[in-house]
Symmetry: C2
Subunit: 309 residues, 2 copies
């Protein structure tokens, strides 16, 4: 199995369109230690010919044009992209579906609840239902990722619930300071994708480490995990936002309840932080926080990063 | 008044994600005579400090990062983008609104009908209604484009109906071969934007030249006009699609009923083709069709093109 990081940043990307904070200014300046990143998405393949996207970010069109493996190579119209697996219904996970219009056969794999979110927005009907199949995936039940013609791709995916929150635009009536209900159901899921020999876990959003998640990830070969924030209050401290990480449904990388601590005894062989917010100092290659995550055995994902399993 | 072409291509962009046609292959190869183009959008400003977008294309995030004038320069969070004027409800005109999340004050100007399309899709509520104002514009009535704080920008816009069709994803039940009802109302509009001295017309989609449109454009200073297709059946002939231009709500550039013919006697000083489909040979700088449009006095828009009026 191979995987390619199409985008490593959290919602808004890096730099974010309306951020003039020092890190975003550095990214715009061409500073080699502060590489820009598009919004989080991964492509995976068992045969290097047919690819499945894990999430469809708003930057998908640019991500395809930056990734030769995802560009058409056959006939006049075609695509190596056979399907999309969704881990949530927020803009940064689903908006790229709008790029996949043009009557190209593919399958969208998601929980019933996430399909419901898409179905509530008629704009996603640009993915014509006679050519783009919607497949409902039951959490914790492995599903074969078939190609549009029904043949096996060699990949199997399991969606599993992780603590999260409802998509931002469905948070009617909640103030920024309110704690949203952390839920664990079909709204936010992780993906375990494998080819029978290797398995990769992709968990771009996770509000807390639970005993079930700990059990699932123990000894795993490769985990790409929510790297949104370094510390829970970093957006407030930097003066660039009013929300804590907890408020946004993300655990932090640092701290006693953070991701590094939670993984310390898990024995995961390859640990990669992804979905990294523009406020997170691990994006700066010369920061002490970057040094700390690398010293703890983590990689920081970047666009174009290739993972061979 | 100044304007910047943020994107010059029609829906899907150039190259289009699933097109392996020769022109898209050339564009991907880095061929200098076949420059890639993102999806159609224009930015306009009276003072070079505050900008209004005409349409928000799916490529908006990349367009902002390619356009220093649209990047934040003040405080920690800010944007020179003061608002967006919409000419239609199709994905290529509105999907970029999803990029403008993050609680940045701005105004979306559109007809009632186009606001209805957005309102029918809860995903656009990421533009929080307490900070992103929706302003309904009555066709043919000039509206001052105010800044978010209510002060004048120096620009005025008039939306005017042009022949068009309903957005693709609202075409329930229509087969590809069906002729959609061409309508002239609030679904598809052009924009006349001006600073009191100069006026620019932006008409990225137009199904036919009408007497009213002829009268409006006669003697105009600058018109950016629908350059989707060279000829009505070019997608069928190339084997890359089943729809005619007419089917998609676009008149063609060439031919006796085409755009070049319709403008021949209008006395428009500056004529620029925009919203150009990847199948249109005018995208190839060495094509006879490109030579023909230029000989007829037209420019072919490209990303980053600056227009000073």
């Amino acid at each position: 199995m191979q995987a390619i990081v199409l985008g490593a940043a959290a919602g808004g990307g890096f730099p974010q369109w309306n951020s003039n904070a020092p890190a975003c200014r550095r990214a715009r300046s061409g500073d080699q230690a502060t590489r820009p990143r598009t919004q989080a998405s991964l492509a995976a393949s068992a045969d290097a010919r047919h690819w499945f996207l894990l999430n469809a970010s708003p930057d998908l069109r640019a991500q395809i044009e930056a990734t030769p493996a995802l560009q058409p190579h056959e006939g006049l119209r075609s695509s190596p992209i056979a399907g999309v697996v969704l881990t949530g219904g927020d803009v940064d996970a689903v908006a790229g579906l709008l790029t996949l219009r043009e009557r190209q056969a593919l399958t969208v794999f998601a929980t019933r609840r996430i399909h419901d979110v898409l179905d509530a927005n008629p704009i996603f009907d640009v993915l014509a239902r006679d050519v783009v199949r919607r497949q409902t995936v039951v959490p914790d039940a492995p599903v074969a990722l078939t190609l549009p013609d029904g043949t096996p791709s060699g990949l199997t995916a399991t969606l599993f619930p992780v603590p999260g929150k409802v998509p931002l635009y469905l948070e009617a009536g909640l103030a920024d300071s309110d704690a949203p209900p952390v839920i664990e159901g079909e709204e936010t899921v992780g993906v375990a994708i494998g080819d029978g020999r290797s398995t990769l876990h992709f968990i771009p959003g996770c509000a807390a480490m639970t005993p079930a998640l700990t059990a699932r990830l123990r000894g795993a070969e490769c985990v790409l995990f929510d790297g949104t924030l370094w510390r829970d209050d970093e957006m407030l401290r930097a003066g660039i936002g009013s929300k804590t990480g907890r408020r946004m449904g993300h655990m932090s990388v640092a701290g006693p309840e953070g991701t590094m601590a939670a993984f310390r005894e898990l024995g995961v062989r390859r640990r990669i932080l992804i979905h990294i917010n523009n406020s997170n100092p691990i994006l700066l290659e010369d920061s002490p926080e970057r040094e700390a995550v690398e010293a703890a055995g983590w990689d920081v994902a970047h666009d174009g990063m290739e993972i061979a399993l």
